[in-house]
Symmetry: D2
Subunit: 292 residues, 4 copies
């Protein structure tokens, strides 16, 4: 039983319903140009927005009670979160979910534990997917929250950090593959620089290119058929992120011969932050042949 147990499944009831917990406008079964809205939009609930954020901002402490969050996440907390998450997905009636490795698993203190804990929660996901029919839209590894990534992940000057990043992506790519995920996403929030004076731009880009080549190589090796997607963002948390916008990503992909292998996952607000707009980014990605 989860905290949502008293919530009746949310359904489309039209614009005139008095029910606060109802869809008024979105009707997943409405057919537009020959396709159901749900099939056009493929809505997904993201673990990090709905289950891992305590409602804090940089000036204030969390305002949302989340019994499954804390400085260290135990397996029990991870399991409780999983239970609540799938209860939420099914009552909300969405077809997909997404997660970062560390959003879902128990806290790990070394790579062995990381692999073990991720495997444990993967088993939970597999059972829930089987049981509910909610599918994995995409998986992704969190290479930005742990202090080790303060200076970059694939672009860190530390070989140990690069190895950690590689291992996290490998495990998560494999888990995504086994869970039937449709794509695999990379968001490089720490792949960038805060100051040019202590950054060797060429070396970091080469390292990043090599890293992504390994991801593509491993994808083919394990037979994953989904698309590898980069999510562009111009800055925040890093002052300048290498995956600034679609054009910058396309420049990078061509330089490292990856333009046939990797596409972009465009986010509205990231486009705006870059001084562009969503429509431009979509049009640019289509023009460059990298629309994900």
């Amino acid at each position: 039983m989860t905290i949502f147990k008293n919530i009746t499944p949310i359904r489309y009831e039209g614009p005139d319903t008095n029910n606060d917990l109802a869809y008024r406008v979105y009707n997943k079964d409405r057919v537009v140009l020959g396709k159901r809205l749900e099939d056009w939009l493929r809505p997904a609930v993201c673990y990090w927005h709905s289950f891992n954020w305590p409602g804090n901002d940089i000036f204030g402490a969390g305002t949302l009670p989340r019994p499954w969050l804390g400085p260290v996440i135990t397996q029990e907390m991870a399991d409780q979160k999983l239970e609540a998450a799938f209860d939420f997905f099914t009552r909300l009636g969405v077809p997909y979910f997404c997660f970062h490795d560390v959003d879902a698993m128990a806290t790990a203190h070394n790579l062995n534990e990381h692999q073990t804990n991720l495997k444990k929660i993967e088993e939970g996901f597999a059972a829930k997917i089987q049981q509910t029919g909610v599918k994995l839209l995409w998986g992704t590894a969190n290479l930005f929250s742990h202090p080790r990534y303060a200076g970059g992940a694939a672009t860190s000057p530390s070989a140990e950090v690069y190895a950690w990043a590689s291992a996290q992506v490998r495990y998560m790519l494999e888990a995504t593959h086994r869970l039937g995920g449709q794509n695999y996403v990379l968001w490089g929030g720490r792949e960038g620089y805060d100051c040019l004076l202590n950054t060797d731009l060429k070396r970091e880009l080469d390292q990043f290119g090599r890293f992504l080549s390994l991801v593509v190589e491993h994808k083919h090796k394990i037979g994953f058929k989904g698309t590898i997607l980069i999510e562009p963002k111009p800055f925040e948390p890093t002052k300048h992120q290498y995956d600034r916008d679609t054009a910058t990503v396309f420049a990078f992909l061509q330089k490292y011969g990856l333009e046939k292998e990797i596409k972009v996952n465009i986010e509205v607000n990231h486009a705006t932050l870059a001084g562009l707009d969503f429509e431009h980014e979509v049009a640019a990605a289509i023009t460059y042949g990298i629309f994900g």
Copy 2:
């Protein structure tokens, strides 16, 4: 003994020194237009920048070990921080410091504890000021980090939150007075709105005007001779903050008859965030007669 015990006091050694821990450019005793640089600039170390921030950002956990920080601050931790802070101030050779109430004191769970814990650390400050000669530039109350302030402090729709805010400012204004503080600052990071649809702008401004009138009244009652300063900022954390810039503050002060009593504490980056610049804000404040 603090973590700074092996740091030799930092002194001006000129641009050619090989000593990493030396002032190369700033020479506090250099006389410019008849006044020492230190007297022109009045540099201060702020508790919140140097002692209370664990090096986190919104996408990542803290990277700075601070033994005196934690989810709950005990009196021992507060004392250890005080010891380190004054050791830092004196080795750095700065004449002033600043703090918010909760930066310095042990965590309080109710107003009685708040008053008691603030009093305890005030005693620590008084002794250190006496002993080191470092002076309090200004004090301020933190009305934004605790979840109770998520919807505003003086502009909160909750009477209890308004009372908490009033009490915090009263205690801190009195402490600042007793510690010889030169000014008292109010930064209204939560005094604003995130959405106009659930905000009664006029009522919130009236409430804020009444609050500041009480602060001014209490200042005169206790005989505090320092200036009450508002620190303008356009947004962040709140989408729109009422103290947006100098002109907006001046509009507000005139509306509530406070333009002779309250001045502004201008911050360079806040001016930039507002689409203005520091020089403009200084010139505007002088023109309006509210330059703090």
Copy 3:
């Protein structure tokens, strides 16, 4: 006969019309909350957008042929423009128009000519208003296009320029009054500074305050019942304009005792340029009691 002679009057024909020159969505007679749309919105055609702009930008010459435009506007050209304008207004079916003095009149080389030429076109307007029923929403004087205003109009350091500005506003306020205009608008595109180093901010604001006091005084003297409106804009063409946003205007109006006499005319894009939004500016103006 004007260039619009072959254009059939534009009417509401609903969303399914095949007629390119028809209103598809806007139906002026549709009643919303007890009032016709046209009465809610009071749409007006502005002379400067539709008749005085040759389609140029700062990097390129004009692209729109306008037989009534040129380096010098003769009375014949002004009359031709008037004819075309009212033909346009009536075929479009809008109830109001707006103009700056120099938008409509023949080019003047001194104040006498200015007064004479404005009077001539005013007579044309009076006849057209009578004949078509199209009404004047507001009048305004152009105090920014002529080189004399490069350093300000009411805030110019030149007494002669100040006198020109005063005379233009006086004549135009009187013309607006006689033509039954509903409001009088002031947009201070050159009232600001490009560099603080050569600007005496206090003196310029005092001069601007005195100027607006004269406008208000004259309004009452001639019995004009419409509202005097300031149109805020943060910058462009001047680096910093004194009427930056609603709050800044309110600060100014209070300082010079004008807050009961002058209100604001808010423009969506000017709000955005100031880092605010239209809704905020409207809400702020209502809160301050200066919503025009």
Copy 4:
């Protein structure tokens, strides 16, 4: 004799000079890291800034009297401008100048006239260069001021406009070559879109790629050894310009196989407009191997 005849040549006189028309800081002969400042900086006067702009902005008429400017430029006016320009360059003591074709030549009404008039002024330039020693840093064709370019030059949907653009660049590239210009620059102020709804992005980029390939082909054909440079700018006048920033240009150059042939000419304010900074753009261009 030009309007500068009473201006004594400007020289370095050091920070303490009382002479208003002197270099106080910049000393062209000062050697820094083994090279004269003038050789590091290669300062140039641009015709368009100093001789072709009448001091107007979008809200106001020109404020600078320029006897050689007018709606139509005669050969006499072009010659007078040339005389004044070289008098200015030599009295200022700068080693280089730059110009667009139409900045310098008499107004042309067709391509034959364009070619003839450009040739005439080229002869004037050749004589002046010979006589003064001032050199051509780079030449460029103006493909943005004439109304024909309102919808693009190389990306215009009109074949005639494309032909005009090609001819202008050809003539100017050849003139630059004959005048000993060190580089040839392309700024695509109209190569972009104002609205995605009426723009075929892929087709315009392909057309632009073909155009630049022709420029490179012609450069080699005529034996010009200088570098072809694109000057990135994100927008203004066009809402979105294809040469947005260095990364976007690099994406484009790779797509059309031009990354070994074309480099970038970075401008500080264009970088800022793109939400980047000059240092980033320089570092990116060096990293990509396209620093001009």
